[in-house]
């Protein structure tokens, strides 16, 4: 499970993780549930249907498939699979019943989505698991615990019956050591705060937290003492600019930029310290210039090897 505040790059991290886990001839499935077609944009493919499609090959012969789960389709599939109600399901959809059911009880929607993930995780063919790993591009940090805590969500609605049974089955997989919830963040105040909140909530709900993935990190460009002091010797800078054949009058403007760089680094370092306090494995991914493409995903996947991610 890969979550993170909006804008932190959780879809990118999920895709790179799926690539990393497919290395060495394995097969993985990356799933999105929010209907944004983020995976299709990332892999530069046409919009994904509700169907598992191969979207990339991994180093060493592995493959990554992708699936965009549609709630209505998942419900129809569920009705067909467990109740043999394929045509009834279609009739209900025409009446707007499916939309109705998932609207009035948002918990049911989450049970269907996580249920589809569970199905992919546990699916076997000829005695073998179809997927070595399933990566979910999950809802953002603000909603992740509620999304995964499906039993609690439907508890108020159904105390017995098929929905309860289904959600208990999903919950068992989500709480098992087979699952890890990774949180993607940036070294900025709000994403870090949301990461801390989400980890606390996930732990309270007994959901297994995996790693913190710090995305888009940039190395400091100034020497350590300058970063710490947050001051620049302008006289020295003027001399240096003159030596480089540049206008020494640029010194104050460049010094301001350097001081701001040092300030930003300080803020990032404070945030890094807050994340360290979570006592979780932490992986830093570098900032990639320009929009992320397949080449960039392979680069990130190198850094998300299973032994690093504790997945």
């Amino acid at each position: 499970m890969v979550t993170g505040k909006g804008g932190t790059g959780k879809t990118t991290a999920a895709a790179a993780l799926a690539l990393a886990l497919a290395a060495g001839g394995r097969r993985t499935l990356v799933v999105e549930v929010e209907g944004r077609q983020g995976l299709a944009q990332l892999f530069d493919t046409p919009p994904l249907p509700y169907e598992e499609r191969r979207i990339a090959s991994a180093p060493g012969g592995g493959e990554v498939r992708a699936l965009a789960v549609d709630v209505e389709e998942a419900l129809l599939e569920y009705l067909a699979m467990f109740y043999n109600l394929r045509s009834a399901g279609r009739a209900l959809r025409r009446m707007g019943a499916v939309d109705f059911a998932t609207t009035i009880a948002p918990g049911m929607r989450d049970v269907l989505l996580t249920g589809k993930v569970k199905e992919a995780v546990t699916r076997t063919r000829q005695g073998h698991r179809v997927y070595d790993a399933v990566v979910l591009d999950a809802p953002p940090t603000g909603r992740i615990t509620r999304f995964l805590n499906v039993t609690a969500e439907v508890a108020g609605l159904a105390k017995v019956g098929p929905i309860k049974t289904q959600s208990d089955g999903v919950m068992a997989v989500l709480r098992s050591p087979q699952t890890a919830v990774h949180v993607v963040t940036l070294l900025e105040e709000m994403p870090v705060q949301e990461t801390v909140d989400a980890v606390t909530e996930l732990r309270a709900a007994h959901l297994p937290v995996g790693s913190v993935i710090v995305n888009m990190t940039r190395p400091p460009l100034l020497p350590e003492p300058v970063l710490a002091a947050g001051r620049i010797d302008t006289a020295e800078l003027r001399a240096g600019l003159a030596a480089a054949g540049l206008d020494a009058k640029l010194a104050p403007a460049l010094a301001t930029e350097a001081v701001e760089h040092a300030e930003r680094w300080q803020v990032e370092d404070d945030n890094r310290g807050t994340l360290t306090g979570l006592d979780l494995p932490t992986i830093e991914l570098p900032f990639l210039a320009g929009p992320v493409d397949l080449g960039g995903l392979y680069e990130l996947a190198e850094l998300l090897r299973p032994e690093e991610v504790a997945a």
Binding site: M95, L157, H261
Partner: protein, 382 residues
């Protein structure tokens, strides 16, 4: 029309002309999540208040420290005056955080008898719907906006929109909820209760029979009973919900409203902004312009990234002026980011040349005090 600074081809957004105009009564800040909508709304509110207007800012989900800077420590649905605002021109700033569930409860109480309201509150479906339905927050934000407008205690209401995936949800969700509460499925469910069950079933035919059969099998009789009870209790309010959503929607089309689209120079944020601009224009809703947050710029724009890097390399090779080389690399990195941001902005402008833009520079720290909000206000004013 004046063109923007920083090499922009877009017209400069004069936000003061919009928010200080006595004719402007509502400013709606919209945009995708994470672009600084709440901060923008707060900065607009503060600027208008210090220019002498009586303002209320309705925030949906503010960052903790930003909320604290406005004295908002609890979700209590009541506007409170913000301390520290310069009163010299006679203005006042009030702020409130939306409590979605409480707003929903208030509507229920207002439209039913106390006994019936109690029944509704206790129903598990109501609890689910009022606290987590994806459109409830948007609906309640609209509802609160129209309540505040009806009170007419403020010269200007600034609304921050919910942190939805898509900026368009703010416009669509209330109608969806209204339609849903008014919908055919609810009426079908309600029908047996109203006509005494069996007699009705014969009339409506197979479809309803099929519906109950399938539902009973999937969700069980208990759940179905709760659902029916919920629908029955809410019935009296159906028309009300839809009507209210429609009224607020119309309010947003009046000349007293100004939409401000908030974005950051990132592909996803600008894509959302683009959809929103098209949509506002299709609905004839009044767009004031776009606030583009987090624009990175350089204090030495004439020194290109390439030249700075060449100079840094030369210094490194000569083994002297290590600090200057490092500072030149900081500049090169920053000049590249700034150029990237301008490119993103210009792409938006080539698709929407008519949309005025106000640029707000990137800050190295998050905003948590009124002084920072004031600075942002000044930047937005152009």
């Amino acid at each position: 029309m004046t063109r923007g600074r920083n090499g922009s081809a877009a017209p400069q957004l004069d936000l003061d002309a919009v928010v200080l105009d006595p004719g402007t009564r509502i400013v709606v800040c919209c945009g995708s999540g994470g672009v600084g909508k709440t901060t923008t709304a707060a900065a607009i509110g503060l600027r208008a208040a210090e220019a002498g207007r009586t303002v209320v800012v309705l925030t949906i989900d503010p960052a903790r420290r930003l909320a604290q800077s406005m004295g908002l420590t609890q979700l209590d649905n009541t506007p409170r005056e913000v301390a520290g605002v310069d009163p010299a021109k006679g203005g006042e700033l009030h702020a409130m955080m939306l409590d979605m569930k409480r707003t929903f409860d208030e509507i229920v109480s207002a439209h039913s008898t106390p006994e019936r309201a109690e029944q509704i509150f206790a129903n598990p479906f109501y609890q689910s719907l009022s606290s987590s339905f994806a459109g409830t927050q948007e609906y309640m934000a609209m509802e609160k906006l129209s309540q505040l407008r009806a009170l007419d205690e403020w010269d200007l209401i600034v609304v921050d929109t919910p942190p939805s995936r898509s900026a368009l949800d703010f416009l669509d969700a209330p109608k969806r909820l209204g339609r849903f509460l008014d919908g055919r499925m609810l009426r079908l469910l309600l029908a047996p209760a109203r006509t005494g069950g069996r007699a009705y079933l014969k009339v409506v035919s197979a479809s309803f029979g099929l519906f109950t059969r399938v539902l009973t099998r999937i969700i069980g009789t208990d759940v179905l009973r709760d659902l029916s009870a919920f629908v029955g209790a809410l019935e009296t309010m159906f028309g009300g919900f839809r009507e209210r959503a429609q009224t607020t929607y119309e309010l947003l089309k009046t000349p007293g409203t100004a939409f401000v689209v908030v974005a950051a120079p990132e592909p996803a944020a600008l894509r959302e902004a683009s959809y929103f601009v098209d949509r506002l224009s299709a609905e004839s809703m009044p767009l004031a312009g776009m606030v583009l947050n987090r624009m990175r710029s350089s204090g030495a724009p004439k020194l290109s990234a390439e030249r700075a890097e060449v100079a840094a390399d030369a210094l490194d090779e000569s083994g002297t002026h290590e600090l200057t080389a490092a500072v030149l690399r900081v500049h090169a990195a920053r000049a590249r980011l700034a150029a990237g941001d301008r490119r993103m902005r210009d792409r938006f402008t080539s698709a929407h040349p008519e949309v005025p833009i106000a640029e707000v520079p990137a800050l190295s720290r998050d905003v948590h005090d009124l002084d920072s909000l004031r600075r942002i206000g000044t930047a937005m004013a152009g």
